[in-house]
Point group: C2
Chain length 429, copies 2
């Protein structure tokens, strides 16, 4: 086909991100044409509510029949911004069947059922790109899939959810408790009316599954991720973190064990102030990578928002379009290593345990003894008297999760220790 024959683009979903993508396709048409080698023509936009006012968008492009749009048969590139599992999955699979390459920001779908989509794409010889699904505008999928493909990644850690990072930041800087900080985030539009996906860690867990799959060339699904949200993070936890020279972040943590297995978890985590991830503010995202040869790398940027996410979508769109123009394809899914998941009890981390004890001689020794009995050595202890009781904070050296849990269980049954021991992950060696 000639250089002036447009590549036809269909857009599914026209919300916060979709409307920005449509705008940029029009505004930057000349640049995009020069970068692709052929024009990109937006030929249809599938929406649920065609009557909503959409400034700058030709109403003739709108349709409520997404199925018919992807089945036209002449579409080169489909951008899926519907979100969720269905009908997004069926639409993507139909688009692939009809020979289109797909760009999607759908982390939930890829974390739940990515392999179905990747193998359909492989069979049809088309591309599936999803840079926008993880950490918004931060280029992280392509660096993992291509730049670091000659290296062995041993850990990927990230702040991948801006809402929870904003809330925890607020708790640190303003002494707010969780409910207040959440309320603020909702008023300012950083958190949704139903904040479950963010604050319970589901969103971060889906991204963690994608990051781990890419980093370790293996299939990791949402159900493989050990997940813990931030709803139980208390003011006391925040204060304890500060006393230990740390801040609390919701960290997605993907690590390659010495036995070759993969551990993927999302946990509120104490991060030492000396760690580059500690300084990531407010609604920003950041990904920290450790690899055998490249060493330690960090990427930061806006993790959400219409324009940043649209930038990531368009970067993928140009890449997929270039591949079409050159009759080529990008690298597909790489899951050759087929690694096992680490047993959650075998995950090694440092921990911080906070408890209230009777303030009497011998209690500290008894607590230390309980940890020691289960092979957990202590790195730091803080004790503060409060009348007849004392608050006791204990930071462990790296230990297996099961060992720490057994020690905590034993402490919980000691008469000198009050019920309700708070336990938190601590990052760093």
């Amino acid at each position: 086909m000639g250089k002036s024959t447009p590549l036809k683009v269909a857009l599914l979903g026209c919300g916060v991100v979709g409307s920005q993508v449509a705008r940029l396709l029009i505004e930057q048409a000349d640049d995009l044409r020069a970068r692709v080698g052929r024009p990109l023509e937006l030929v249809g936009i599938a929406v649920r509510r065609p009557d909503v006012e959409r400034p700058g968008i030709d109403p003739a492009l709108l349709t409520t029949d997404a199925d018919a749009l992807v089945a036209r048969g002449d579409i080169d590139l489909v951008i899926e911004l519907v979100g969720g599992i269905e009908p997004a999955r069926s639409l993507i699979l139909a688009a692939i069947r009809h020979g289109a390459s797909v760009v999607t920001a759908n982390k939930a779908l890829l974390a739940e059922d990515g392999p179905t989509i990747y193998s359909a794409a492989e069979e049809a010889g088309v591309d599936v790109y999803y840079e926008a699904a993880v950490a918004g505008a931060i280029p992280i999928v392509r660096p993992l899939r291509e730049s670091l493909v000659g290296d062995e990644v041993t850990a990927v850690m990230g702040i991948v959810n801006g809402t929870t990072n904003y809330i925890l930041d607020k708790m640190h800087t303003e002494g707010a408790d969780f409910a207040e900080a959440l309320g603020d985030a909702q008023r300012l539009g950083y958190a949704e009316a139903d904040p479950t996906a963010d604050i319970e860690g589901y969103d971060a867990a889906a991204k963690a599954a994608l990051l781990a799959s890419l980093a370790f060339h293996s299939r990791v699904q949402l159900s493989d991720v050990v997940r813990e949200g931030i709803t139980s993070v208390s003011k006391a936890d925040i204060t304890a973190a500060e006393e230990m020279g740390c801040v609390v972040k919701l960290l997605a943590r993907c690590t390659l064990g010495e036995d070759g297995s993969i551990a993927v978890g999302v946990h509120p985590t104490m991060v030492p102030l000396s760690h580059p991830l500690a300084a990531i503010p407010g609604a920003y995202n950041a990904i920290f990578i450790e690899s055998r040869n490249a060493g330690r790398l960090m990427f930061m940027g806006p993790g959400a928002g219409g324009a940043p996410t649209a930038s990531a979508v368009l970067g993928d769109l140009v890449t997929a379009a270039r591949n079409r123009v050159r009759n080529g394809r990008g690298p597909g899914e790489s899951s050759y290593s087929g690694r096992a998941m680490t047993d959650p009890g075998d995950v090694v981390s440092r921990y911080y345990a906070a408890m209230t004890v009777h303030d009497e001689p011998g209690v500290l020794a008894a607590v230390a003894e309980a940890f020691s009995r289960h092979g957990v050595s202590l790195q730091a202890v803080r004790q503060e008297s409060e009348g007849e009781q004392a608050r006791l904070g204990v930071m462990t050296h790296a230990a297996r999760h099961s060992q720490v849990l057994t020690a905590i269980d034993e402490l919980d049954r000691m008469p000198e220790v009050h019920p309700g021991i708070a336990l938190m992950h601590v990052e760093g060696a």
Copy 2:
């Protein structure tokens, strides 16, 4: 060809980086094969001194005849780590003519004569990748060329030379003067015996040319870069920066002007502590990007060293090899925008000027008046008496370089101002 037929790899140069590349090609052969889809076979290594001991490398692979190696005709991928202009350029062009794709870390050559190489590759239908040429292991070429290709990048700023970053860090943290810090860096192997390329900013300028070319889809060469090294940075400059809440960094700065022209400069620059680049320590590199839609992104990591640079080389090698296996090609050079360079006098920046003046009434007013007369407004002034003299430090608001120079020129001729006014760029709005 079958899946077991190897792709043949030739390595030119086997120094610090090359020996790591050779090691990894052997150690990670199974992973590389799985990621490429076919084995990679190292068939020859061109070296100058074949007698040097090279543990782990089969001496039968060594040759001193690099020309004959690239002219074998059966080589799929050539890795050029010779450095410098010649014979590197001739070897790369010969490799391309013989149908090989090329991976190189040669910033000097690409900044001087990249277009010759890119067009030869375009004509021959092969790839040229050069992630390792800028900021070592930090993935930055691919993010600019692919991830941000749907966006408009407006600025790229970076700490791209670890040697100068180490020296300036040392001057800040230990109060060392330039000569002492350079001596330390040489003793520790962070600076070479002839440190000219680093401390005079040539290395950073070559990287800046490559970054600007990628970011703005235009051809920027080494000769387009306004370059200033760190040899004249004094203890007094460091102290002045600290007093203004800044640190001094050697910054490569590539900006897109409102008139569509490009300014590229390498200068010692005061960076406010609130800027993410201020915190980049020691021998690390970092790149900061501003773009219309993605917003502000930062990438950091080790900027040099054998293993990190080898990681970047191998990432490119796997990508180029995958393209071969799929009969595809990566995106080539993109210089469609053909932008003009901004006249150096028109570059807009904040500046800091330090001078010694007679400590008498009216001098400060006269200095302020001189700036004002040339349209430069002042943001902050610090004056400190030293007997009959005073040290005067002046931070301007953003102004055109020519305006600031004219004001400085006028000050230099005032009897109340001692000769020798120090001028430094200041980052931030």
